[in-house]
Symmetry: C2
Subunit: 393 residues, 2 copies
């Protein structure tokens, strides 16, 4: 399945829906600063200023430095590939004059990182190219296009995400047999990475904290790499981990309890905390459907947790996932300044979200589960087999 071709076709239909004439992904040295749109609609990097153009009428045109042209042609995703030697401006204006677009969407967004691929300096360069033409006043943000394109997963994309999830859950199963007192967080991470490398895969985000492993009541906290802290009886242990399979990511969290000597069951505090998390996820997923306002979905889980006497989690309930572990666009986010306008967006069919509330269990660690769910017109589906209780070692 050629996903690039599928996504380019989808982009054309999104341009029609949003009534935008041209989508211009404008890049240079894109391996250094990789505009996230490239992975969706170009599939590779170029050195010199390059215009990847998709039009509402279905045209695909790439204007690129002469030495980049052969590589673009060989992929044959763009019908027209136009080389230049000294500067892109004349060819860019010639093509725009041919298309005569009333709106030109370029990749900037205050709110969505994956729609914000155009750097500010290169934006100024583009505006210099367009200066004195009618096009300089026709530039709009491509945020809506990018969010729709990344959000509305095709079946081929869902099947890749499923594969990444299956690999991750399988590794979690193996981890259960490996965990035990005396091993360190780093030992657990190494065990996981050995399996990842043996399969020729890569972690879904920076290897510094993928996998992330946290054991016991005083661990370092989220977004921190595994340490030399040793697992002990009485610890609650979390792993946050995902892999990339065929360019698509998983991102899941599971929680284990390490029994003390002679202990048969986990303490009630642990069991209760995990039940609250499980039910918070269940309630939020029930509220998650096409048309839901995203902050309200977060609020369902957040209120469930606080009404059970726990503090609220200091982050969003979930984010979209796909090509990137954090795939951009709306998320299940509280109305906090740092999330900008994203919490006010509406959920669409085809989107895939993580759902990842957490709460502290005093003296033991953190209760946290992260699932991945797929919103369809009919219902919202768990792509990951949900964890329903703490896994006991």
């Amino acid at each position: 399945m050629d996903i690039l071709r599928e996504k380019i076709a989808q982009a054309v239909s999104i341009l029609r829906e949003k009534k935008i004439d041209v989508w211009l992904t404008f890049v240079r040295e894109s391996a250094t600063m990789p505009d996230p749109a490239l992975a969706m609609i170009a599939g590779h990097h170029t050195t010199w200023e390059t215009a990847w153009i998709i039009t509402r009428s279905g045209d695909t045109i790439a204007i690129a430095g002469s030495l980049d042209v052969e590589a673009i042609k060989s992929k044959s995703h763009y019908r027209e590939v136009i080389p230049y030697v000294q500067g892109i401006r004349p060819e860019l204006l010639r093509i725009l004059d041919r298309i005569r677009p009333r709106t030109i969407a370029v990749n900037f967004s205050k709110d969505s990182v994956t729609a914000d691929g155009l750097t500010h300096g290169l934006y100024l360069v583009l505006m210099d190219h367009l200066k004195g033409t009618k096009y300089e006043h026709r530039i709009v943000s491509s945020e809506g296009i990018v969010s729709a394109l990344r959000g509305r997963k095709t079946h081929a994309e869902i099947s890749r995400i499923r594969k990444a999830i299956a690999v991750t859950l399988d590794i979690f199963d193996r981890v259960t047999g490996f965990l035990g007192p005396g091993k360190t967080e780093k030992d657990v991470a190494d065990f996981i990475m050995k399996h990842v490398r043996a399969m020729g895969l890569e972690p879904a985000w920076e290897s510094e904290h993928c996998p992330a492993v946290f054991t016991g009541p005083e661990h370092a906290g989220a977004h921190f790499g595994p340490t030399n802290r040793k697992i002990e009886g009485g610890h609650v242990l979390n792993i946050d981990f995902g892999v990339k399979v065929d360019g698509y990511c998983s991102d899941l969290q599971r929680t284990w309890y390490i029994r003390r000597k002679g202990e048969r069951r986990p303490p009630l505090e642990v069991t209760r905390g995990m039940m609250v998390i499980r039910d918070a996820i269940k309630a939020a997923v029930e509220a998650l459907r096409p048309g839901s306002i995203s902050w309200k979905v977060d609020d369902v889980a957040r209120s469930h947790i606080t009404s059970n006497g726990y503090p609220e989690y200091p982050h969003a309930l979930g984010h979209q996932i796909g090509k990137a572990a954090h795939d951009g666009g709306i998320g299940l986010m509280p109305r906090w300044d740092r999330y900008g306008r994203l919490p006010f967006g509406r959920v669409e069919a085809g989107q895939v979200f993580t759902v990842e509330p957490r709460l502290p269990i005093e003296g033991y660690g953190v209760a946290t589960i992260e699932e991945i769910v797929w919103v369809t017109e009919q219902r919202t589906v768990f792509l990951s087999k949900p964890q329903t209780r703490v896994w006991v070692v």
Copy 2:
């Protein structure tokens, strides 16, 4: 040697020299769109809006989302690490009010990719944060800071680049024993990558065309991956390849001639083309010293080639190299539109450049050599042992 600490100290002295009060590297989800400045002065990625602040008086302050803070603290490169939960604005303004900067340099540049790490959407977010304060009119480009910081290599950096070069030249030696008629460009690339992986290293740029291998008169041209084209007697063969060692890159090209059956020496056309390239490099390097205007250095090599009756190369003579294979800042570039203002910059001591002219040898292939040289106050030094004639197989 803690290069990060060394580069942060160097940044402070550059701020003094350039009379800029604050250098603000403003990022979010930086693993998705990695501002190239981070590798020089932060060393790792964060998820939420983060302000990496270095001041002229030597202060280092990071303001980051609460879940990112522990990881920053653990590196202890920033004296002050300030967490926020809901939004960065209050803390950012509090810190600016304490410093009271008259100039705040942020990472945007029309000309230099490595100084253009701030995306346009995030630039708008930053301007929203500063709106209504005196700071909104004090924003300047950090291009001069970034160019100086990346360009002026410390001895620790030079020693890492030397290591990357040594590995590359060693692999080229091994390749000479491997080359032969019937093998494909891909076979040669696989042979090289086997060695790279065995050493636990990674290629210096996108693995799709690193190494790049071109054999014979009708190969695909620069910036294209190796193909199934077979090596034959009478081919001129080029390899463009580099590795990353301890975070620093090499980028070198070498040229081989594959003899026909019974042929003792390469044809005169090949020998002559390679001599012209060798002499073009020699002349350019003699013209390359602190204070040289960069386009004039390109012009020395370019004129040498055209005055010998060959067409000029369709690219720049060379680029800076360091953390990235294309390290940004001024290069040895012709005055073409696509290079912006970079050809008009002056060379500084401490900079490391590639020098890579090329010319076609009709019926055989391309003559090209790429060397790496280091500009010092006294003289310009070859870091790579120069190729002086075609290598014969």
